[in-house]
Symmetry: C2
Subunit: 213 residues, 2 copies
């Protein structure tokens, strides 16, 4: 990647500013005026250089057919995550049905990088209420990122739906002979034992986010 000329850098940053303001790319003549160039062919020439050097991508014969490469890369790393409610001991989670996943209406949406969600699909978020998870280093008010799964490995922190009781809690999951042990992360609380038929896994915790004052 060669070093850009002064004029090329000005063009590049103008395109960036233009996109920031308008959300669509400038025309060649927009660039011409902004960078005080006297001919469209000069702009065309320098845009070709910028494309050859990998800074932009051009679509031939298309008005405003300019795309910033780093902008595209950044956009592709982002995932919108719906925050769909709160969780606390004894309160049900309104877990979305897995079918209408894309169109769910969440009051809050957090955009996170794919590094955080590990590129997983079916990710949602819950706000934790109470200190029942302090031993899992999860505090009151934390946001837990959940992935929708229906099966869990031993020791994983999962949201489980207890059918008979009609409630959902966040516990560590252990499959034992003839029963399932749901271990609270808080050591002062007792484990819950449940029959396998009564337990429905609704998701596992894949990340924790906390904001401090």
């Amino acid at each position: 990647m060669k070093t850009l000329s002064d004029r090329q850098q000005r063009i590049l940053s103008f395109i960036r500013d233009f996109l920031e303001e308008k959300d669509y790319p400038p025309t060649i003549r927009d660039i011409l005026k902004a960078c005080q160039i006297s001919s469209t062919s000069v702009v065309d020439y320098n845009l070709d250089v910028l494309e050859r050097e990998g800074y932009i991508r051009r679509d031939a014969e298309v008005s405003r057919g300019i795309e910033l490469q780093d902008r595209r890369r950044r956009r592709e790393r982002l995932v919108p995550v719906p925050v769909i409610g709160r969780i606390a001991a004894g309160e049900p989670i309104p877990v979305p049905a897995p079918d209408n996943w894309s169109m769910l209406a969440a009051a809050e949406v957090v955009e996170l990088s794919q590094e955080l969600t590990r590129g997983q699909e079916k990710v949602y978020a819950l706000r934790v209420k109470g200190t029942s998870l302090v031993d899992a280093l999860i505090d009151d008010g934390d946001i837990v990122l959940m992935q929708y799964v229906t099966a869990a490995e031993n020791g994983e922190l999962v949201a489980v739906w207890l059918k008979a009781e009609g409630e959902v809690t966040l516990k560590r999951f252990y499959r034992e002979p003839g029963r399932i042990r749901l271990q609270p992360a808080n050591s002062q609380m007792q484990p819950i034992y449940a029959e396998p038929a009564n337990v429905e896994v609704q998701g596992k915790v894949i990340a924790v986010v906390r904001q401090l004052g």
Copy 2:
């Protein structure tokens, strides 16, 4: 906000898909072909409706002058945060100089919503090494979001630079008569006492992010 007609919804989602793929808006005739409309005036008509209803914004007499409103809102809520290194007891943090903030080259960048960073400027991130912060509910491997500040309130979790020792640690900050107490979050560790002249605050923790296996 009235309910959109079938055709208007198709137009809206086509614009969205087009932007997703190309990163610049479609022309009226692009929409015409994609939505099987037989006249440009019909597209124009429906775009006007979409603008009146607040879904898009149009720039008059400008090719591809269409902007999705939610796209703009989303973009403005995002902030790129550089992950600039690791922190552990006895290791220095490479805190960036506050002057060349915008142009720093970080190995890793996390994009976060402004809700997370609280819209603050000068935010960076550190990866935590070791369990010295377990009592602050911060685990080994967690990412702490830091805001660059040079002064701290009592009790805040801050990164401090000990000039004489030439090292940086993450501790709770307490100003005491004639000295500063740096309290480890881990209760098994002893506090450090330092002279005020020897202490330089380099940032405070504003959020914690953890990924689980």
